[in-house]
Symmetry: C3
Subunit: 342 residues, 3 copies
């Protein structure tokens, strides 16, 4: 399908600068722009490409100021990143979604499925499962007994959901993710093999949550491990038993959260972060990649780095000195020499 710059501008409430009849039929990255494609400029790192791009139309922020002539037609919008998100979503929704229940699936007779549903081959839906409307369950998914899933969810191939898990509406769960495996709980046993602590709780995932591929969310020992509304977890995240992650918190890949910790709302964690057990993290906390935390964060909107993490500016200052420690020690040597000479 083709759209003109003018049509797109109207859709996005934007302003055309250049040829309003420029036609696009696909998307491209600004550094790879081809005629007939639309791209966007949001990250200033990529500004140079706008003067050379072959793309026909570029979305830019309202306040973008060109330093040289630009061949492409511009559409100025309030927020170019958000605008491209809206367009990509429209484009994505135009593709056909799978429907129906493929014959080689297993659906327990007690399971209740909503309308307009897809169940792929080799998917397994257990006893007393309840699934809402417009849900896509891809091949090789496992849904254990007594799980409930809300409306409009997408469960990608091979996801495994253990018994009693509750999932809200509009959730997306990517391939290989495991929800509800046993928490890691063992009691010492007089020097003998550790005693397994049976994990009888469950996992609760609220609305609008997206879990990346190969994420684990363990079931609670007792009670529930809870992922609140709007949380987004990247690939390879680990969420231990009885953890709670607050609304709209976003966590990058390969981060792990140990048992019973409570993460606030609107937090942002980088990749490979580690959160210790039994700690509480205030709303709006930002952790730099590879940070570690073993104590509570009480102050909201803290920006931390390091393992154990502390204020990010202080970390950067300390790290500069760390890199110079060899010179610093030489200064001390020389001071001592001077003092000894006297």
């Amino acid at each position: 399908m083709e759209f003109t710059a003018q049509q797109i501008a109207e859709l996005l409430n934007g302003k055309v600068e250049g040829n309003p009849n420029a036609v696009v039929s696909t998307f491209s990255k600004i550094e790879e722009g081809k005629p007939g494609s639309l791209c966007f400029l949001a990250n200033p790192k990529y500004t140079n490409y706008i003067y050379e791009t072959q793309a026909s139309v570029v979305l830019v922020n309202e306040d973008f100021e060109a330093q040289k002539p630009i061949k492409a037609t511009l559409i100025r919008v309030e927020d170019a990143y958000r605008a491209i998100a809206i367009l990509l979503d429209i484009y994505n929704k135009m593709t056909d979604k799978p429907k129906g229940i493929e014959k080689q699936s297993f659906v327990h007779k007690s399971a209740v499925l909503g309308k307009n549903i897809y169940v792929g081959a080799f998917a397994y839906i257990g006893k007393d499962v309840k699934i809402g409307n417009n849900v896509q369950i891809y091949p090789q998914v496992y849904i254990g007994n007594n799980v409930t899933i809300g409306d409009n969810c997408i469960i990608y191939p091979g996801v495994k959901i253990y018994y009693n898990t509750k999932i809200g509406n509009n959730c997306i769960i990517h391939s290989g993710t495991v929800i509800g495996a046993d928490g890691f709980g063992f009691a010492p046993n007089d020097g003998e093999a550790f005693l397994k602590i049976a994990q009888i709780g469950n996992v609760v995932i609220e609305d609008n949550v997206e879990l990346g591929a190969l994420v684990t969310v363990d079931r609670a020992t007792m009670g529930s491990t809870i992922i609140r509304e709007g949380v987004k977890l990247d690939n390879h995240n680990h969420v231990a038993h009885n953890v709670e992650i607050g609304k709209n918190t976003v966590i990058a890949a390969q981060t792990g959260i140990a048992g019973t910790s409570k993460i606030g709302q609107n937090c942002m964690f980088g990749g490979q972060v580690g959160i210790g057990p039994h700690i509480t993290i205030a709303n709006g906390t930002k952790l730099s990649s590879k940070s570690g935390l073993s104590n509570n964060v009480l102050k909201e909107d803290s920006l931390l780095m390091g393992a154990p993490a502390f204020d990010i500016r202080a970390y950067h200052r300390a790290y500069i000195h760390f890199k110079n420690l060899d010179d610093i020690v030489k200064r001390i040597d020389s001071i001592e020499n001077k003092l000894n000479e006297k």
Copy 2:
């Protein structure tokens, strides 16, 4: 089912303090205790909750001393954490376990299955596989040719076990875990693409081992990668080719062990630890989360932190100074100024 405080105390060899006829039918966490539920207090961090909990019965350690009146009935036991483990296990065993061989599974005609077994739909059991009694193989599990599995094991949905793997008795393996994939071995090849080294060894897992979700244990190049009796690995662990992990060692999530390293018995590693290749770690070694090791640990019961790791107390002292490096350098500046003034 309902139990009185008195009945539970007898089961645990404990002492009731309060109403011996208090009735419970479920479990709760102390901070979420509801009437009719039993909870426990083992971690002192949670002591405050005992004075407010609505739970009917609380398990506490023998030596617990109340600072205020407590509404709940107490049961004093030698070790509250161990006692709750026993109760949860009893509770867990009362739930029905799946049985029988579901029709849509694949079991090779040469495979030998024990008594009282469960094989879920879409599970694949290859040639010459031998499986013991009372084993649960959940849907979508893959068991390659010539694998043997002992008695009383639980293999959760989607586990993949490559050919020739040997698994002992009473093992639990959580969803998505991969056992026996090729070790990461490549030989340089005159600047051309690396030459793959075929991995012809296998994996041996002894009795009473539990592997979390999405763990990898690679097959040996030659010989065996070995997980000894009683080892417990949390989610997302990586165990490379030819590693050996000693008896009753416990490792938290997202830890990786490189090829051919030997971990002792009764070790405890935190999460996100990294162990280099070809090293030996003494029995009882404890590594703090995020530690890295590239040299042998010879002394038993060492307690280490950092990357590369060293004595944990020394690490904490050094880290305090690291955080203060900016001030330390200012002190040096000021000393130099003083010296120059003279």
Copy 3:
């Protein structure tokens, strides 16, 4: 099958030292060598074992100099590690490979499969998929619509490949790996839930690539995430949207690469490395385990360590001082005392 030392030496263009008629039928590690087995010595750490090994034949480097008498027959070759790789490969190729299309699989009628192919039970092959010759698709693999796979690939049990992915020839992909899941892209939304950015690009994997178990390679937002020829990724690696990894780069386990970063050719990264978003890394860069990078590496063949990473020798020097910081601060204290006394 049995081979004499002489036969093996001819195969490898090596020189026998000892009994040319010594017979071997299997492989062993030098420290576990048994009569009738062949082992190799490449890593000097293992030299001591050669004087005691019970193996019948040992491959050694041409320039190996024995310090004591050796019982085993030696075969001297240019590169013992490469020679064993060749022998193991020959041994491995003698085992039977699975063939044919198992009945309980799902192959879409529009899919085009090459000759001499294996499709295991419960594997799912979607619409318009194209698969080359001599490909092994193990049980429970998912191949989404419009995926293409070249010749001689092995796709192990449970791999999930999303729509539109392109895979070249001679690739090996281990169990549980997920290719083509959505990149982690969300736009802020006036303090409301983040807006998902539809990921409409794909993943391209060139020839001779090996991906370990439980790896993720995310699809591009627009364009392609690209894994170039000869790349080898170990278990639990994470490759984000729009990343490009250059030819013959090798990356150890649990490493993560954030969105849009470009890794050069012939790089070697240790385990648990983290690469930030939007950065460029020069050819031949070596990163020590647990390193972090958030800035470009411009100089080829850099050898870096730390988070953020810098020159590895400088890192080691600084880290030695870090371990001594307590003593360093005591020296400063004592200097200040001396100065104050004066």
